[in-house]
């Protein structure tokens, strides 16, 4: 599993997106899928910075991936705060955004753009987010 470790700050979001874009291309995914992956990992990493670490530069994000038969499996590992994704209500994307709180799109994008999204929280072992993206003809 190729691995890259980035200090958890917003400047590094671009590097994280690029790291996974290259990985996705090498896994044979098309440019639409590459873009979806960039959006999903951006939201995931931004959440780690914002919510798990509660701010910039309070830890690192370990980024790894695995090329699988169907496409790519992405793993983001952090040592911040855990949370319960099941308690997070999905956004109401049919309501007027001007009257919504400007929050809650990140997890939603990850779920919409990726084929499989799983969190696991392991105490001192840290938090692991696994997302998979499949090629056009896989499911």
């Amino acid at each position: 599993m190729p691995l890259a470790v980035f200090p958890a700050n917003f400047k590094n979001l671009e590097k994280i997106r690029e790291f996974y874009a290259r990985a996705a291309r090498s896994a044979g995914l098309d440019e639409d899928a590459v873009y979806d992956i960039q959006m999903a990992v951006d939201e995931a990493a931004a959440n780690i910075i914002d919510h798990a670490y509660g701010g910039e530069n309070r830890g690192v994000i370990e980024c790894s991936y695995e090329i699988i038969e169907k496409g790519i499996r992405i793993v983001l590992h952090d040592h911040g705060k855990a949370f319960d994704p099941d308690l997070i209500a999905p956004p109401d994307v049919s309501s007027d955004p001007c009257s919504r709180k400007p929050r809650g799109l990140g997890l939603y994008f990850m779920q919409k753009l990726m084929d499989n999204v799983r969190f696991s929280f392991n105490g001192d072992g840290g938090n692991i987010l696994t997302m998979e993206k499949y090629k056009e003809n896989s499911c």
């Binding site: 979001l13 990140g106 994008f109």
Partner: protein, 111 residues
């Protein structure tokens, strides 16, 4: 991210090139604030050179739209929105809240 503003007779033309993520969204927010603090609430946001936008950037756009539409004093029109940026706006449910034009010229000419 690069930002260009062009004051026109009846609106501000705003062009942004590059990536709008949590790192650069504050700059976009600043420029919208600068425009509205200058008293202009009619804005054409030409997105043709926006390569990436995350939810952080999308929310900045919503905040700007909200501020501009207040008291019926103006509006943010979108122009030349690249396919992937459009899809992100659509997924977020934001498309119904913007007039979207094929060209910046048409957007400017609709104020």
């Amino acid at each position: 991210m690069e930002i260009k503003t062009t004051p026109l007779k009846r609106c501000m033309l705003l062009e942004v090139a590059g990536r709008i993520d949590s790192s650069t969204a504050p700059q976009l927010s600043d420029i919208f604030n600068e425009i509205t603090e200058g008293g202009e609430f009619h804005i054409v946001f030409n997105m043709s050179k926006v390569e990436f936008i995350s939810s952080a950037g999308l929310w900045v756009m919503v905040t700007a739209q909200k501020k501009c539409k207040r008291f019926n004093r103006g509006e943010v029109y979108l122009a030349e929105v690249p396919k992937r940026i459009y899809e992100a706006l659509d997924l977020a449910g934001f498309i119904p809240y913007y007039k979207v034009y094929d060209s910046a010229a048409e957007a400017v000419g609709s104020f």
